[in-house]
Symmetry: C2
Subunit: 385 residues, 2 copies
Amino acid sequence: MAQRFHHIIGRLGLSFNIPCVMEPTPFGHSDLRRYVREVFEWTGIPAADAELAADVLAYSDEHGIDSHGVARLDTYFDLIIGGKINKNPMIRVVREKASVATMDGDNGLGLIVGPRCNEIAMDKAGAYGSGWVSVCNTNHYGAAGYYPVQALARDLIGLSMTNTTKGVVPFNGREKMLGTNPIAIAFPASTEKPLIIDMASSTVAYGKVEIAERQGKSVPHGWCIDAHGHTTLDPIAMIQGGALLPLGSDEAGSGHKGYCIATVVDLLSAVLSGANWGPFAVPFAIKGAPKEAKQVGKGIGHFFGAWDIDGFQDPCIFKQSVDEWIRVMRSTPPLPGASEVLVPGEPEHRAYAIRLRDGIPLDPKVVDSLQRISKVSGVRMPAYH
Amino acid sequence: MAQRFHHIIGRLGLSFNIPCVMEPTPFGHSDLRRYVREVFEWTGIPAADAELAADVLAYSDEHGIDSHGVARLDTYFDLIIGGKINKNPMIRVVREKASVATMDGDNGLGLIVGPRCNEIAMDKAGAYGSGWVSVCNTNHYGAAGYYPVQALARDLIGLSMTNTTKGVVPFNGREKMLGTNPIAIAFPASTEKPLIIDMASSTVAYGKVEIAERQGKSVPHGWCIDAHGHTTLDPIAMIQGGALLPLGSDEAGSGHKGYCIATVVDLLSAVLSGANWGPFAVPFAIKGAPKEAKQVGKGIGHFFGAWDIDGFQDPCIFKQSVDEWIRVMRSTPPLPGASEVLVPGEPEHRAYAIRLRDGIPLDPKVVDSLQRISKVSGVRMPAYH
């Protein structure tokens, strides 16, 4: 099954959110979800919140976004066990005006604060035609794409973004000042699957550099610089004091545009909500975090939004138009060497179909981390597919 | 003066929206504005609308965005004279729900439909905390950056986007299916100048390829492909049946991300409003336009938005935080070979200061086009600075 999985994924020939796994052991998706929920419950998180957090992580694992699913459970676990996260946050509205609000996540798990605040944005869209919530005092919220996908069943166009720990240089700069600051937007379709956009504003996410390092490979030009600010193809040189480049990479590639996108995400998520912005964004993991870093706000920041399609157009007609748009784009003749033209979200939809059928392959290191958590908590390991 | 202008712009060493002019003849900014207004009035456009359209074009010329100012006046002029544009459009709301609306531009000049619809979005933001207007049946609206800048005086965060004539391939595709689909967002600051983001979702705009062709130079890898879908450094090969690449260019550079941004712009501007989307977007110029192209909607589409800062945070505190953000980003040590790190909008602010002092340099070909219009209309040529 793992063989078949690799074969199909390999055919996509794309760099959307393709999983990269070595010798995967496929787990059953529903028991993996059970395991995560029980682990969160064991830490003292209320049952409903634990289920919500498990749902966010499951979205990533089930859609092939391996970097944002259970691979990060041990970091969340350590943060909770280490007392760095508020297990019972009083998530509250700080300021509000009809379609917009600022919320304070009370240092809760981003996997819980995120869905709750996204819900408010969607409710506002139902009431006012659009809804927007900027959130401070929160933590890492999983894959950005999870949130706009929740909006689809309500015939809303969903949006989410978050600032993250610094790792990316501003255009022409040589020090990390911004996070990989992702942005995600989803549009519902009618008979086609929805369009889902979920992208970091750097050329690549840090995880891709780590993978090259583990495999002893070089990285393409334009991904990163070394500690002296020179372009490097050596992943180790990036990891040891270097930095990622914004989308577009350099002057020839219009690297200032990636910097602009990261700016938008940082301003709407963190400056607008009163969270730590730019280089002050709180690190995700405890390990390696400086003890007394300068703070300019509370936690990190998210930004959620939704537009009610019904306020603009008959939702049925809109969704049929999206279907047509998808088919027209797919009909584009491919570049020499490329097998097909996909639409945003298609790699995730394909991964989802395969993973629900064949199970979820996990990297051995991730399996080790789940076993460690299982021993500590007594929660039964997830079953194989 | 032209010499000094070149010297200062050259020092920026950036690829934001730097003007590229040859042997410029500087014109006085206010008389250039008078000239444009009188030309539009001469065509039969009402005085208030002519002034508005002149203001949109002046924004580009005064901020160094030479591709979108009076350089395009002859195209607008020909469209109006040729009866392709409605000089007295009844711009109307088609559908509405509190903070959102769809508007029909009645085939008016985009330079008039755009500001009117942007005004509605800003008014909605004042009333509901945010405002969003999707517009169909409109035409080319000038520089995307003009619109969010109008929001700043009201303490709003402004946004605009528009779809444009096809010129860009979807990721992995070899035929033009999307426009350069720009997006612009502006944030007010306190004592610093505002942050202004205005970027096409292709690696570069078509104008940059044309400039290389005129100068007999090659273009960098990643800008475009030839008619067979092969990467090319030859601008002529792109112009003769090739296409532009989305931001990120190829798989190594994450070209799927530029495709995703173009998708968002196309969906919100054109699919949502009922305009022509993707490859069906109406060409800007009459010249070279097919006589009976397939239509899937009305005209092209724009999308305007605004968030009321006051609904999220005390606007004074927000603007002070933006000041601090700007100073922190500017303090980043530059890459070896780069002189400084700028923030989005800074090249435009610098160009503005220089051009209001030294006049607006125009390419000789642009001056020729203004002289042609002057002869036809009898409107007096703009005075030199």
